[in-house]
Every structure is written in C-alpha cells, then in structure tokens.
Amino acid sequence: MIFLSDFLNAEVVDLKQHRIGRVRDLIVLMSDPFPRVTGVVLKGNRRLRAIDWTVVRSWDNKELSLKLDESALQPHTRADSELWLSRQVLDKQIVDMDGRRVVRVNDLQLSQVEGTMLLVGVDIGGRGLMRRIGLEGMGRRASAALGLDWPQKLISWEAVDPVKSDVSSVKLRIAHTKLARLHPADIADIVHELGPEDRSAVFAALDDEKAADTLEEIDEPQMQASILERLDVDRASDILEAMAPDEAADLLADMPQERARQLLGKMEEDEAEDVEELLAYRQDTAGGLMTTAYVGVLHKLTAAQAIDRLRELEPDAESIFYCYVIDEEEHLLGVLSLRDLIVAKPETQIRDFMITKVVSVPLDAGPREVAEVISKYNLLAVPVVDQHNRIQGIVTVDDVMERVMPARVAGRRRRLF
C-alpha cells in the first residue's frame, strides 16, 4: 500500500542525480470518484516550489527521481479545485459518511492506477499514527510476535466529506451535498464534534428544512444560538421559519435580544407572530413548553371537510394525531383522533362523534404536572388552554419528557467542559 507519509520528506533527485530538495506536500485535483495527484511541493534551498507530477520518473520510500534537470523544471500549473494534502487534509478532521462520525486523518492512502496516482482512502487507525512516527514496522512485528492481528483502519475517499477547514481558497466539488443525505440526528452528532467555523459551513450547505431539523436535534441551546448567529440574517430567519415555533422560540430566547428582534423582523409575519406569542411565556410552564402548531377544526364541519382541512394544514408528524374541535372563538369543545376521523362516515358532523371530555392543562402548569397528565391518560400531546378554556397550543410528549427526564436519559450527547 502507498501512503502520503511515504512521500513526505523523501529526497528529490533530478536527472543528473542532483539532490534538489525534499517533498513537503502532494497536490491533488478534485475529481470523481477519486482525486488525482497532479503536483509535488518540494523544499530546497529554503525555497518552497510546486512542480507537476508528470515530471516524476520513479519513486521509492527515500527518493523521488525526476525526468528532467533542475534547470528544465517548470512551476506547477495551478487549477481551481486543488487540495494540498499535507497542509489541508492530513491531521485535519473529516466526516466519515459511513460511520457517521468525525475522525482525524492519520494518513492518506494513494493508489497507482494506469499511470496516474489517485487518492483513494483515509487512514484513521492506530497503524497510521505509528507509521507517521516511523514505528509501524515495530508495531507490526510486536503484534505478529503476540499472534495478534493488527488491521489497517481505512475508509474510502468516496465515503469522506472534507470539512471546510482552511480550504477557503479552494472550491471543493464534492461540497457538503453528501452530508445532506444523512438523517438530521446524525448530522447533529457530527456538527457537535466540529469547530464553530466548520459548523456554519455545514449549515450553509443544507437546505432550510434539513437545517431546521438538524438545529432542533442539537439539544444544546448555546450551540444552537451560536450557529444561527454566524449565519446571515436572511438565511437564519429562513431556517427559523422552517422550525417548529416552540423550538424557534426557545432558540431566540437564548440569543441576544437585539439579534432575536432582528431575526423576528425578517421572518414571515405568521410564523413570527406564533413565535412571539410563545416568547411571552415562561420557559418552565406549559405555555413555554407548548407549540402553536396544532390542528384545530371548527365544530360545524363534517368528517370529510375536517379531513380536507387537515390536507390544507399539512401538519407535522408530531401534531397530526389529534384534531382539536373548536368554536369560532377558539374555545376547546372536543377532540378527535386521526383514526376517528378516517373511520367516520364522510358526511357525519364532527361534533356528533367527538370526545367532549378533553383533558387539558392551564398555561401556567409546570412541566411535571404536564408530564403526569400525559402519562396518566397515555397521550401523545395535551392541549394548553387559557382561563376561558380557549386553546393556545399543545405540549407534545417528547417536548415535556425532555424537560422532566434526567439529563442523561433525555440528552444523548453529554459533554463535560
């Protein structure tokens, strides 16, 4: 197997066998599926220069021989999407798409295919580390002596997403499109491991929906806020709109007021109003926990009309299970399950088969009280009403559980410092 570390520091010898420097880096051109090595960076006479890979005649661990004399060497012709492997990839963090985690690049695996040198894999294992300090052979002999297997830990370059670290000058062709295919919870885990710059870079590459879902999955308010603060206002407000209003409100509450106001101002009026209403409640009450994205249907409708109304509203997964029946002043009259609606005859009036004994909680109920009601009646969500029994929103089971469960059960990720 060929590795980048085999080349680094190798002596460069020209046609006349003159030593002209040492290899400092290899340059690859981004291409699918594997980037191709196009240049060598060498340092000799205290000078750093890049030459084309095509002038390389042969190489082994210690030496890289060139086809030309030093005097005939041309500087490497730069192209747009190039990477300097040692400077920009080696030792940096990358996203392992298959393992769905962030790993560190210990070495890079190259492969010679039909006369070209390709970057094919990333070494993320202990062998790569040992190779870098020149101890791989020793480790191999030691493990052989002990009768142990010492496998390479390599992942294919295809399964890798380079995170924008200091590659700002390079336009990566495989941008973060690969990342966008992952589940938001996985993206959240990955984002968690990255520095703030890289985090924003990842978010910049996601569409609004995905960004909103991912942001909701990051359950650390400070981190959420700092991500949003680094995005520009328009983009940030678009993402907020795509979020559940209660999550958006929580997030805004953690931002400096100035910035929060600015973002609210940029949001669509409807969404902004919802969020603003929620902002007015204390966070540790039913009012603060609830979302205003619930399904309310007027009592005069028939089952068929109610289903049409559902289609119009396109409610989120977490709120579709219950339809709350209300009058014109939003007084809570009854509740229907999705099942009730579907099995009822289309022309039946909903008030004839709705459940009128609705369990609800007041706006100022504490999280524990809400949780008790939800678990006692086995609900997926409970409506929140004001003192006149007007529905204000719903608290879903996962929102309240997050609040009352001990942190280690609710939050998957814990960090210490």
């Binding site: 080696l90 030792d91 940096k92 963090q93 985690r101 790993v103 560190r104 210990n106 993320i124 580390l129 870098r132 300090i133 670290s165 200091d166 520095g195 703030p196 710059e197 985090r199 308010p221 400070q222 981190m223 806020a225 700092s226 603060e229 680094r230 409100a249 929580d250 509450a253 953690d254 007021q257 929060a260 106001r261 600015q262 609210l264 101002g265 009026e269 902004a272 109003e273 603003e276 929620l278 902002l279 007015a280 409640y281 204390r282 966070q283 540790d284 603060g288 001990p406 942190a407 280690r408 998957r412 990720r413 814990r414 960090r415 210490l416 410092f417």
Partner: protein, 434 residues
C-alpha cells in the same frame, strides 16, 4: 406582528438567569479555581512555612507570566472553537503531538498522584486515631467515587459544589489578618525580590512557579472556552474573565503564604516536606481563624481541593489526548464504543491512587513533585503556543500583535531560566552550597 424595535416581552428567561451566573463564573475563573488544588495549597503553605514572606514576590512574577499564557489560549479557544491539542495536532502533525501528549500525560499523572496524596493527608488529619491506616481506606474509596461520579453520575453539579467549597481557603485571609503579621514586611517582600542560593529555596521557588503556571491549565481553559461556544464578540468578556481568575488565584496564594509565614514560620516550627507530619504543622496556620478547628478546616479544604484535582485532571488529560489522536470520546460511552478514552482515564486514576498508597510514601513531598515537572514542561509547550497564536491561517486578524509577542517571549525566557536553575541545582547542588 412586531416591528424590529417594538418592545418584546422576553419572559421565558429562566435560562437567562443561569446565563448571568455563568457569565460571572466563566472559564477563566473556573480554571483558576481548579488550580488551587492539593498541590497548589500545599506548595504555597510549604513556601510560607519554610521561608516566611520571602517568596511573596514570586506571586507577582507568576501572575505576570500566567496572564499572557492564559489570555492566548482563551483567545485561541474563542476564535477557533477548537481545543489546544486539536490545534497542536493540526498545525504540527503526529510526531510533535505524541511528544507533547506524552509529557502532558506524565505531568498530569504525577499531579494526580499528588491529589491522592492530598486525600491521604486529609484523611490522616481527620482521623488521627486511625493512624497510618486511614489512607489505605480513604484513597480506594475516593478513587472509586471519583471514577464513578465522572463516568456514571452527574459530574456538573459536583463540579459546582467543589468550586464553591474552594472558598474554604478564604479562611486564610481571615487567618492572615488575625495572626497580625508585620504588614510592612509583607509589603516589602511582595515588591522586593529575595533570593537564597540554597537547594531548599530553589526547590520551593520552582514549586510555587510550577503549581501556579501549569500546562494543563492551558488545555483546560481552552477546551472550556471552546465548549462554551464563545465567538469573537465575546473576546473582551473572556479577557476580563481570564485576568479576574488569575487575580483571585494569586490572592488566595498570597494569603496562604502570609498566614503560614505569620504563624508556622514565625513560631520557628520546622517543616520538612519529607516529614509525614508536615500537614499537621501546615494546618497550624489556620489556628488564628479557626482555633481548635484549624486542623479540621484545613483537612476539609485539602480534601476538597484533592477531590477536585483528582477528578478534573485525569478527565481533562484524557480529553486532550483523545482529541489529538481522534479517538472516540465521551463520558457517556461504553467501553466497546470508546476503549481508548476509558482506558486512559481509568489508568490515570488507578496509577494515581496506587502510587499514593505505596507504603511509607512521603505525602507532602509527593504533593510537591509534580509542580517541578509542570514547571519544566512549560518552556517546551510555550513555543508551540506562540507559533499557533501567531499563525494567521488559524487566528486571522486575531493573531498576536507585537506587544503580545514581546510579553510571550519574556515569559518564555523567565520560565526557561527557572527551569535551567532547577536543573542546575539538581545536577550540581554544590553550586548552591547544598
């Protein structure tokens, strides 16, 4: 619909109140407080007991050295959002990282031994009737508690409690005042350097420097800062936080030295770090404040300081190492998921507790040894730090200016001189009349 300027009612601010608290106690203050661990308290107390006020001026020097170092790491954490070991690995590659991490492990393992020795010392003070047996009971219990708390319990709450308990050492301020020291002499020794070319003095001099300025503080503060998600806008606040922490740290150190100097030293009680009873003698310094409870109070403070160090040091070391090498990490992972993390962490605790339990181990000496290792590791770490903070590709326009570089350079020179001095006194003690 509200216009951007309209008064919004941001009532849901339960969290905001917590934020106010946290913004007062920032990463800098936390780091500085953790620095008052068993080695710190013992180091300052020994300094005062053996040489009175002679070492007070050193505190000014350490504060002036610590300031620029911590400011630089805090700035790096704020701007890059990455840990120090992250940056070292990314900038310098594998080989230098292996060296730095190896030395860091060594220094911090030695410090962990010291923390457990502090536990033993506290146990012996609290249960004198148990004699030498106390430590063999106390250390395993504490080691298990620490290990369990961090990996399987809720550590954050405990960490807060420990930080609050460090205020026990404010007792030294009262004690110092009640002991009626000669304030004129205190002041003079604070500003006029005194130096004795004797091995014992040089040892304690390096101890005081080494316990105050430690490599782990740099790593610890930077990960604290970056985990907090601070951005360039928070730079000013973070600087204030850093300097406030350093001032607090050195004030406590100052009063420990004054209190021990005005009591133990003034009464000509001879304290030898190698003496098993050294802790009993040091504890006398709290007598003006706590009377007959002086020993108990010192023991509790020491126990808390040791516990804090014993839990935070192994953990921050393990974080730094796993971060540098890209091992899976996290305290909520199983052994199968994060073998390296749990192995390193457990090894440090077992090693620390094991060595501290070694029969006849001179406790006060052990608590003192890591200060020396730390003191000599810093001159090696500092150049790397300076390269990182000057790299514009990493720091952008927040890279060091000329003033910061001059300060950093001076600090490097001072610390190198201290280290060379120590090595010389070690290799050729006769030079210093030893």
């Amino acid at each position: 619909m509200s216009l951007p300027g309209s008064p919004l009612r941001f009532v849901r601010s339960r969290r905001a109140r917590v934020l106010v608290f946290l913004s007062v106690v920032g990463p800098g203050i936390i780091t500085a407080n953790v620095d008052n661990d068993a080695t710190g308290v013992t180091g300052y107390a020994l300094a005062g007991s053996q040489f009175g006020y002679d070492l007070l001026w050193v505190l000014i020097v350490t504060a002036l050295c610590l300031g620029p170092i911590q400011e630089m790491v805090a700035r790096m954490g704020t701007i890059t959002g990455k840990g120090l070991s992250d940056l070292i690995r990314e900038r310098f590659g594998v080989a230098p990282t292996v060296w730095v991490m190896g030395l860091l492990f060594l220094a911090n393992a030695a410090t962990t031994v010291a923390e457990f020795a502090g536990v033993a010392g506290a146990a012996q003070l609290l249960f004198p009737f148990a004699g030498g047996v106390a430590r063999y009971v106390a250390i395993p219990i504490v080691a298990f508690i620490v290990w369990f708390l961090v990996l399987r319990g809720s550590f954050r709450g405990v960490e807060r409690l420990m930080l609050i308990l460090t205020t026990v050492f404010l007792g030294y301020i009262v004690s110092a005042a009640l002991a009626h020291p000669d304030w004129g002499s205190v002041l003079r020794h604070t500003v006029v350097p005194t130096f004795h070319a004797r091995p014992a003095f040089i040892l304690i001099f390096i101890t005081v420097v080494g316990t105050t300025i430690t490599p782990w503080m740099a790593f610890f503060q930077q990960s604290n800062v970056s985990d907090k998600g601070l951005g360039p806008g928070d730079l000013r606040y973070e600087r204030i936080d850093t300097y406030a922490g350093i001032v607090m740290l050195n004030l406590v150190a100052f009063f420990i030295i004054v209190a021990t100097g005005a009591t133990v030293f003034a009464h000509h009680v001879h304290v030898d770090p190698a003496d098993p009873a050294a802790f009993d003698k040091i504890a006398l310094a709290l007598e003006p404040f706590a009377g007959g409870y002086a020993t108990a109070l010192f023991a509790i403070g020491l126990l808390n300081a040791s516990l804090m160090g014993a839990s935070i040091l192994p953990l921050s070391t393990t974080y730094a190492i796993t971060e540098a090498f890209g091992f899976e990490r996290g305290i909520d992972k199983s052994f199968r998921e994060a073998p390296a993390f749990l192995t390193i962490y457990t090894t440090m605790i077992v090693l620390g507790a094991g060595i501290a339990m070694f029969p006849g181990a001179p406790l006060a000496l052990i608590t003192n040894l890591p200060n020396i290792i730390n003191g000599s590791l810093l001159p090696l770490l500092l150049p790397l730090l300076l390269i990182l903070v000057n790299d514009r590709r990493i720091m952008g326009r927040y890279a060091n200016g000329p003033l910061a570089n001059v300060l950093g350079g001076v600090v490097l020179v001072v610390l190198s001189v201290v280290t060379v001095l120590f090595l010389a006194s070690f290799v050729a003690p006769r030079l210093f009349g030893g």
